[in-house]
Amino acid sequence: MARAIRRIKIGIHGSIGPERLSRDLSNFEEVILFGSRAAKVGRRGSDWDLLCVGKLPPRRVYAEKPIGSVSVLDVIWLPPEVLHTSEWLGSELANHVKHFGVVLRGAGEWREKAVTSEVAVVRKVRVISVRCRVILQYGSYLAPKYLEQHKRLLRRDLQRLDLLRKNVPVPPSVVLDDAWSSDANTRIAACETARMDLLTSRAPELLNLDYPAPITSAV
Protein backbone atom coordinates (compact mmCIF):
# COMPACT_ATOMS: atom_id res chain seq x y z
CA MET A 1 0.00 0.00 0.00
CA ALA A 2 2.91 2.29 0.66
CA ARG A 3 3.31 2.01 -3.09
CA ALA A 4 1.16 5.09 -3.23
CA ILE A 5 0.54 6.31 0.27
CA ARG A 6 2.29 9.42 1.46
CA ARG A 7 2.18 11.20 4.78
CA ILE A 8 2.70 14.93 4.88
CA LYS A 9 2.52 17.29 7.82
CA ILE A 10 1.37 20.80 7.00
CA GLY A 11 1.40 23.67 9.43
CA ILE A 12 -1.27 26.30 8.84
CA HIS A 13 -2.28 29.53 10.48
CA GLY A 14 -5.74 30.62 11.51
CA SER A 15 -8.68 28.72 12.86
CA ILE A 16 -9.40 25.32 11.37
CA GLY A 17 -12.67 23.52 10.98
CA PRO A 18 -14.39 21.11 8.61
CA GLU A 19 -15.69 23.93 6.39
CA ARG A 20 -12.30 25.50 5.88
CA LEU A 21 -10.63 22.14 5.29
CA SER A 22 -13.25 21.19 2.73
CA ARG A 23 -12.81 24.51 0.97
CA ASP A 24 -9.02 24.64 1.09
CA LEU A 25 -8.65 21.05 -0.04
CA SER A 26 -11.13 21.32 -2.89
CA ASN A 27 -8.59 19.94 -5.36
CA PHE A 28 -9.04 16.50 -3.88
CA GLU A 29 -11.75 14.11 -4.98
CA GLU A 30 -12.20 12.95 -1.43
CA VAL A 31 -11.27 14.40 1.95
CA ILE A 32 -12.03 12.49 5.15
CA LEU A 33 -11.30 13.70 8.64
CA PHE A 34 -10.30 10.89 10.98
CA GLY A 35 -8.53 10.45 14.31
CA SER A 36 -9.38 12.33 17.48
CA ARG A 37 -10.92 15.39 15.79
CA ALA A 38 -13.34 13.22 13.85
CA ALA A 39 -14.25 11.20 16.94
CA LYS A 40 -14.78 14.45 18.84
CA VAL A 41 -12.20 13.51 21.45
CA GLY A 42 -9.54 15.89 20.16
CA ARG A 43 -7.73 18.12 22.60
CA ARG A 44 -6.37 21.60 22.21
CA GLY A 45 -3.39 21.28 19.92
CA SER A 46 -4.46 17.91 18.50
CA ASP A 47 -3.49 17.39 14.87
CA TRP A 48 -6.13 17.37 12.18
CA ASP A 49 -5.81 13.93 10.62
CA LEU A 50 -6.97 13.87 7.04
CA LEU A 51 -7.21 11.27 4.34
CA CYS A 52 -6.95 13.05 1.00
CA VAL A 53 -7.64 11.21 -2.21
CA GLY A 54 -6.52 12.81 -5.44
CA LYS A 55 -4.22 12.52 -8.39
CA LEU A 56 -1.62 14.88 -6.93
CA PRO A 57 -0.22 14.81 -3.39
CA PRO A 58 -1.01 17.80 -1.13
CA ARG A 59 2.43 19.31 -1.55
CA ARG A 60 1.45 20.40 -5.03
CA VAL A 61 -1.94 21.81 -4.29
CA TYR A 62 -1.60 23.14 -0.77
CA ALA A 63 1.12 25.47 0.38
CA GLU A 64 3.34 23.95 3.01
CA LYS A 65 4.36 26.19 5.87
CA PRO A 66 6.74 25.47 8.69
CA ILE A 67 5.62 23.18 11.47
CA GLY A 68 5.17 25.14 14.67
CA SER A 69 2.37 27.33 13.42
CA VAL A 70 -1.07 27.28 14.94
CA SER A 71 -2.46 23.98 13.66
CA VAL A 72 -0.98 20.92 12.07
CA LEU A 73 -2.67 18.97 9.32
CA ASP A 74 -1.42 15.39 9.31
CA VAL A 75 -2.34 14.36 5.80
CA ILE A 76 -2.36 10.84 4.42
CA TRP A 77 -2.55 11.05 0.67
CA LEU A 78 -3.72 8.29 -1.64
CA PRO A 79 -4.28 8.27 -5.41
CA PRO A 80 -7.83 7.15 -6.34
CA GLU A 81 -6.77 3.84 -7.89
CA VAL A 82 -5.52 2.57 -4.53
CA LEU A 83 -8.86 2.93 -2.76
CA HIS A 84 -10.34 -0.30 -4.06
CA THR A 85 -7.29 -2.51 -3.64
CA SER A 86 -7.49 -5.33 -1.11
CA GLU A 87 -4.31 -4.03 0.50
CA TRP A 88 -5.91 -0.69 1.31
CA LEU A 89 -9.35 -2.09 2.19
CA GLY A 90 -7.76 -4.58 4.60
CA SER A 91 -5.52 -2.04 6.27
CA GLU A 92 -5.83 -0.84 9.84
CA LEU A 93 -6.14 2.75 8.66
CA ALA A 94 -8.94 2.03 6.17
CA ASN A 95 -10.88 0.22 8.87
CA HIS A 96 -10.32 3.08 11.30
CA VAL A 97 -11.52 5.62 8.73
CA LYS A 98 -14.54 3.43 8.01
CA HIS A 99 -15.66 3.55 11.63
CA PHE A 100 -14.48 6.95 12.81
CA GLY A 101 -14.04 9.05 9.67
CA VAL A 102 -16.10 12.10 8.79
CA VAL A 103 -16.41 12.68 5.06
CA LEU A 104 -15.76 16.34 4.25
CA ARG A 105 -15.67 15.94 0.49
CA GLY A 106 -16.57 13.12 -1.88
CA ALA A 107 -18.60 10.00 -1.26
CA GLY A 108 -16.29 7.69 0.65
CA GLU A 109 -18.18 4.68 -0.68
CA TRP A 110 -15.15 2.42 -0.45
CA ARG A 111 -15.56 2.47 3.32
CA GLU A 112 -18.35 -0.11 3.13
CA LYS A 113 -15.83 -2.65 1.86
CA ALA A 114 -13.12 -2.00 4.44
CA VAL A 115 -12.46 -4.94 6.78
CA THR A 116 -9.93 -6.00 9.38
CA SER A 117 -7.58 -8.38 7.61
CA GLU A 118 -4.98 -10.88 8.72
CA VAL A 119 -2.48 -8.80 6.75
CA ALA A 120 -3.12 -5.88 9.11
CA VAL A 121 -2.51 -8.15 12.11
CA VAL A 122 0.73 -9.50 10.67
CA ARG A 123 1.83 -5.99 9.79
CA LYS A 124 1.15 -4.80 13.33
CA VAL A 125 3.16 -7.69 14.79
CA ARG A 126 6.10 -6.60 12.66
CA VAL A 127 5.76 -2.96 13.71
CA ILE A 128 5.73 -4.00 17.37
CA SER A 129 8.74 -6.21 16.80
CA VAL A 130 10.64 -3.25 15.35
CA ARG A 131 9.60 -1.05 18.27
CA CYS A 132 10.84 -3.68 20.73
CA ARG A 133 14.18 -3.90 18.93
CA VAL A 134 14.59 -0.12 19.08
CA ILE A 135 14.08 -0.06 22.84
CA LEU A 136 16.27 -3.11 23.41
CA GLN A 137 19.12 -1.76 21.30
CA TYR A 138 18.94 1.96 22.03
CA GLY A 139 17.01 2.28 25.27
CA SER A 140 20.13 3.17 27.20
CA TYR A 141 21.14 5.81 24.65
CA LEU A 142 17.78 7.50 24.25
CA ALA A 143 17.03 10.72 26.09
CA PRO A 144 14.17 10.21 28.56
CA LYS A 145 11.74 12.12 26.33
CA TYR A 146 12.53 9.91 23.36
CA LEU A 147 12.45 6.71 25.36
CA GLU A 148 9.08 7.72 26.75
CA GLN A 149 7.84 8.38 23.23
CA HIS A 150 9.07 5.03 21.90
CA LYS A 151 7.44 3.22 24.81
CA ARG A 152 4.20 5.10 24.24
CA LEU A 153 4.19 4.09 20.57
CA LEU A 154 4.91 0.47 21.51
CA ARG A 155 2.14 0.45 24.08
CA ARG A 156 -0.40 1.92 21.66
CA ASP A 157 0.53 -0.61 19.00
CA LEU A 158 0.07 -3.44 21.48
CA GLN A 159 -3.40 -2.13 22.22
CA ARG A 160 -4.12 -1.86 18.50
CA LEU A 161 -2.92 -5.41 17.90
CA ASP A 162 -5.25 -6.67 20.59
CA LEU A 163 -8.19 -4.86 18.99
CA LEU A 164 -7.27 -5.99 15.49
CA ARG A 165 -7.17 -9.60 16.65
CA LYS A 166 -10.60 -9.14 18.19
CA ASN A 167 -11.88 -7.53 14.99
CA VAL A 168 -12.65 -4.33 16.88
CA PRO A 169 -12.12 -1.00 15.06
CA VAL A 170 -9.03 0.77 16.37
CA PRO A 171 -10.05 4.08 17.94
CA PRO A 172 -7.97 7.30 18.00
CA SER A 173 -4.82 7.31 20.11
CA VAL A 174 -6.36 9.50 22.79
CA VAL A 175 -9.01 6.84 23.40
CA LEU A 176 -6.31 4.18 23.66
CA ASP A 177 -4.44 6.35 26.16
CA ASP A 178 -7.51 6.85 28.31
CA ALA A 179 -8.30 3.14 28.27
CA TRP A 180 -4.76 2.28 29.25
CA SER A 181 -4.76 4.55 32.26
CA SER A 182 -8.25 3.75 33.46
CA ASP A 183 -8.88 0.11 32.60
CA ALA A 184 -6.74 -2.67 34.06
CA ASN A 185 -8.29 -5.16 31.65
CA THR A 186 -6.83 -3.20 28.75
CA ARG A 187 -3.38 -3.71 30.21
CA ILE A 188 -4.04 -7.40 30.79
CA ALA A 189 -5.27 -7.83 27.23
CA ALA A 190 -2.16 -6.11 25.90
CA CYS A 191 0.06 -8.48 27.88
CA GLU A 192 -1.88 -11.46 26.61
CA THR A 193 -1.76 -10.38 22.99
CA ALA A 194 1.97 -9.66 23.24
CA ARG A 195 2.59 -13.21 24.44
CA MET A 196 0.79 -14.73 21.47
CA ASP A 197 3.79 -14.14 19.20
CA LEU A 198 7.50 -14.55 19.81
CA LEU A 199 8.19 -11.32 17.93
CA THR A 200 6.14 -9.30 20.39
CA SER A 201 6.64 -11.33 23.55
CA ARG A 202 9.16 -8.98 25.14
CA ALA A 203 6.94 -5.94 24.87
CA PRO A 204 5.37 -6.21 28.36
CA GLU A 205 8.79 -6.42 29.94
CA LEU A 206 9.98 -3.37 27.99
CA LEU A 207 6.94 -1.46 29.16
CA ASN A 208 7.67 -2.56 32.74
CA LEU A 209 4.34 -4.33 32.85
CA ASP A 210 3.85 -6.96 35.47
CA TYR A 211 1.42 -9.45 34.16
CA PRO A 212 -1.58 -8.48 36.22
CA ALA A 213 -4.18 -10.87 37.49
CA PRO A 214 -7.47 -10.69 35.57
CA ILE A 215 -10.08 -8.42 37.09
CA THR A 216 -13.06 -10.49 38.13
CA SER A 217 -16.32 -9.27 39.49
CA ALA A 218 -16.66 -12.01 42.06
CA VAL A 219 -14.20 -13.09 44.69
Binding site: M1, A2, V130, R133, Y141, L142, A143, K145, Y146
Partner: protein, 123 residues
Protein backbone atom coordinates in the same frame (compact mmCIF):
# COMPACT_ATOMS: atom_id res chain seq x y z
CA UNK B 1 32.93 13.64 28.09
CA UNK B 2 34.68 10.45 26.99
CA UNK B 3 31.54 8.41 27.59
CA UNK B 4 29.41 10.82 25.58
CA UNK B 5 31.90 10.64 22.70
CA UNK B 6 31.85 6.84 22.84
CA UNK B 7 28.06 6.82 22.71
CA UNK B 8 28.01 9.18 19.75
CA UNK B 9 30.58 7.07 17.91
CA UNK B 10 28.66 3.87 18.60
CA UNK B 11 25.41 5.26 17.19
CA UNK B 12 27.16 6.77 14.17
CA UNK B 13 28.83 3.44 13.59
CA UNK B 14 25.38 1.81 13.51
CA UNK B 15 24.30 4.31 10.85
CA UNK B 16 26.63 2.42 8.53
CA UNK B 17 24.17 -0.49 8.46
CA UNK B 18 22.21 -0.71 5.22
CA UNK B 19 18.48 -0.18 4.94
CA UNK B 20 17.27 -3.04 2.77
CA UNK B 21 13.64 -3.48 3.88
CA UNK B 22 10.67 -1.54 5.21
CA UNK B 23 11.35 -2.76 8.74
CA UNK B 24 14.89 -1.38 8.54
CA UNK B 25 13.45 1.99 7.58
CA UNK B 26 11.14 1.94 10.60
CA UNK B 27 13.97 0.83 12.86
CA UNK B 28 16.19 3.67 11.72
CA UNK B 29 13.88 6.14 13.47
CA UNK B 30 15.08 4.75 16.79
CA UNK B 31 18.66 5.04 15.62
CA UNK B 32 18.11 8.68 14.65
CA UNK B 33 16.58 9.42 18.03
CA UNK B 34 19.57 7.74 19.67
CA UNK B 35 21.86 9.91 17.56
CA UNK B 36 19.99 13.04 18.61
CA UNK B 37 20.03 11.92 22.24
CA UNK B 38 23.77 11.27 22.39
CA UNK B 39 24.58 14.54 20.61
CA UNK B 40 22.19 16.43 22.87
CA UNK B 41 23.83 14.89 25.94
CA UNK B 42 27.15 16.35 24.87
CA UNK B 43 26.12 19.73 23.49
CA UNK B 44 22.70 20.57 24.83
CA UNK B 45 22.67 18.72 28.15
CA UNK B 46 19.14 17.48 27.57
CA UNK B 47 16.41 17.16 25.01
CA UNK B 48 13.65 19.59 25.79
CA UNK B 49 10.02 19.29 24.77
CA UNK B 50 9.17 16.96 21.92
CA UNK B 51 11.86 18.10 19.53
CA UNK B 52 12.39 15.92 16.52
CA UNK B 53 15.86 14.49 15.98
CA UNK B 54 16.64 16.90 13.13
CA UNK B 55 15.77 19.90 15.31
CA UNK B 56 18.14 18.63 18.02
CA UNK B 57 20.94 18.40 15.47
CA UNK B 58 20.22 21.94 14.28
CA UNK B 59 20.40 23.19 17.87
CA UNK B 60 23.66 21.32 18.44
CA UNK B 61 25.04 22.82 15.21
CA UNK B 62 25.09 26.19 16.94
CA UNK B 63 27.42 24.81 19.61
CA UNK B 64 30.14 23.54 17.30
CA UNK B 65 33.77 24.65 17.62
CA UNK B 66 33.88 26.07 14.10
CA UNK B 67 31.83 26.76 11.00
CA UNK B 68 32.93 23.55 9.27
CA UNK B 69 31.31 21.34 11.89
CA UNK B 70 28.28 23.61 12.13
CA UNK B 71 27.67 23.16 8.42
CA UNK B 72 28.19 19.41 8.60
CA UNK B 73 25.66 19.07 11.40
CA UNK B 74 23.11 21.26 9.61
CA UNK B 75 23.43 19.16 6.48
CA UNK B 76 23.10 16.04 8.61
CA UNK B 77 19.93 17.47 10.14
CA UNK B 78 18.38 17.76 6.68
CA UNK B 79 19.23 14.14 5.95
CA UNK B 80 17.73 13.08 9.27
CA UNK B 81 14.48 14.89 8.42
CA UNK B 82 14.38 13.27 4.97
CA UNK B 83 14.99 9.83 6.42
CA UNK B 84 12.29 10.29 9.05
CA UNK B 85 9.78 11.24 6.36
CA UNK B 86 10.43 8.01 4.47
CA UNK B 87 10.36 5.98 7.68
CA UNK B 88 6.96 7.43 8.60
CA UNK B 89 5.56 6.17 5.34
CA UNK B 90 6.88 2.71 6.19
CA UNK B 91 4.69 2.62 9.28
CA UNK B 92 1.63 2.52 6.98
CA UNK B 93 2.78 -0.31 4.79
CA UNK B 94 5.54 -1.84 2.78
CA UNK B 95 7.88 0.58 1.06
CA UNK B 96 8.42 -0.08 -2.59
CA UNK B 97 11.97 -0.85 -3.79
CA UNK B 98 12.72 2.66 -5.03
CA UNK B 99 11.66 4.10 -1.65
CA UNK B 100 13.96 1.66 0.14
CA UNK B 101 16.81 2.58 -2.18
CA UNK B 102 16.13 6.25 -1.54
CA UNK B 103 16.09 5.68 2.24
CA UNK B 104 19.38 3.84 2.03
CA UNK B 105 20.95 6.55 -0.11
CA UNK B 106 19.93 9.20 2.43
CA UNK B 107 21.24 7.02 5.25
CA UNK B 108 24.53 6.62 3.43
CA UNK B 109 24.83 10.40 2.94
CA UNK B 110 24.06 10.94 6.61
CA UNK B 111 26.64 8.36 7.63
CA UNK B 112 29.33 10.07 5.53
CA UNK B 113 28.47 13.48 6.96
CA UNK B 114 28.57 12.19 10.51
CA UNK B 115 31.91 10.48 9.97
CA UNK B 116 33.35 13.80 8.77
CA UNK B 117 31.77 15.53 11.73
CA UNK B 118 33.33 12.97 14.07
CA UNK B 119 36.72 14.16 12.85
CA UNK B 120 36.60 16.97 15.37
CA UNK B 121 37.01 14.47 18.20
CA UNK B 122 40.45 13.57 16.84
CA UNK B 123 41.65 17.16 16.48
Amino acid sequence: MAKSSDNIKKVIDDLGIDISASDDAMFVVGRLDALASTIAARYLKRVTGQKAADAVLRDAAQKQPNEKYTKLLKRAASKVAALERIAETASYGELRPDQIRRANAVRSDLYDLMLKWLGQFDE
